[in-house]
Amino acid sequence: MSDPVFRGGLAGAKAIDGSISVSAIDDRGMIDLRGDIKDKKFVAATKKVLGISLPAQPRQSVNKGEVTALWLSPDQWLITCPRAKGAHLANGLQTALAGIHSLAVDVSDARSIIRLEGQGAKEVLMKGAPVDLLASEYTDGYVRRLRFAELAAMIHVVSSDPEIIDLYVFRSYAQYAWDWLAATSTKQSRLSLFANQSIASV
């Protein structure tokens, strides 16, 4: 039987407990929001609906309560909220933004979110992306899109210490990303190349 209700690219995936913890986050709603940050009306309308000011600075995010705004580009943000509220919030934005050159679309089903948690999370991601995630800029709230394991992906550093990183991939790649992370985050595959490490006795 066909199932018209999308249940997330990783519905039912059991968290992986390896060198780090990997789990699927499938209770987030997502809204693609575009507009001109220099337009005062756009800024005011979005703030009224979301309760937060959109981050104008590149690669930053703003969070308050249940709502987070992630910077995607100079005129684009990804708004995340509880999944049950996604459609409502998108409608609220569309109403408030009527007549303002902008776009707000509920894209809750477009992406899957995988959470990496624990010391070494950045190292696991660095196996799949030529990025120095240990650089100081990758601190709390930092957002960047990147190529990860040949995918178009995005990371959000929820917390740098302890390490909690959300990886966003398009949903059709969710299983691939999941399997990739499962294979590279086993206890045996821990690198500890960059963290404080003691040399293991052989």
Binding site: P58, R59, S73, R145, L146, A152
Partner: protein, 95 residues
Amino acid sequence: MRINCPYCGPRPNEEFNVLGDATKTRPDADKATAQDWLDYVYERDNPKGRLEEYWHHASGCRNWLVVKRNTVTHEVYSVVAARDYKKTHPEGVKK
């Protein structure tokens, strides 16, 4: 080769798609001849040295950039968002 995106910072070139020559100006649709279109769409120089190109930060901010670089040394001289480049070069990009 690394490209210093004005929005994202220095990024590896795998994150970008190249479109090519940024010095071509779209012909006037009412006046252009077939030769003008041929030149605009297909004809490209293959310079050894300085080159001005459009690059798209596809795996980043998805903005179009104008990158001035050297095809021999891979040195990148400057990177400007295409929208800003147009503002500072209203007459169009030099041939």
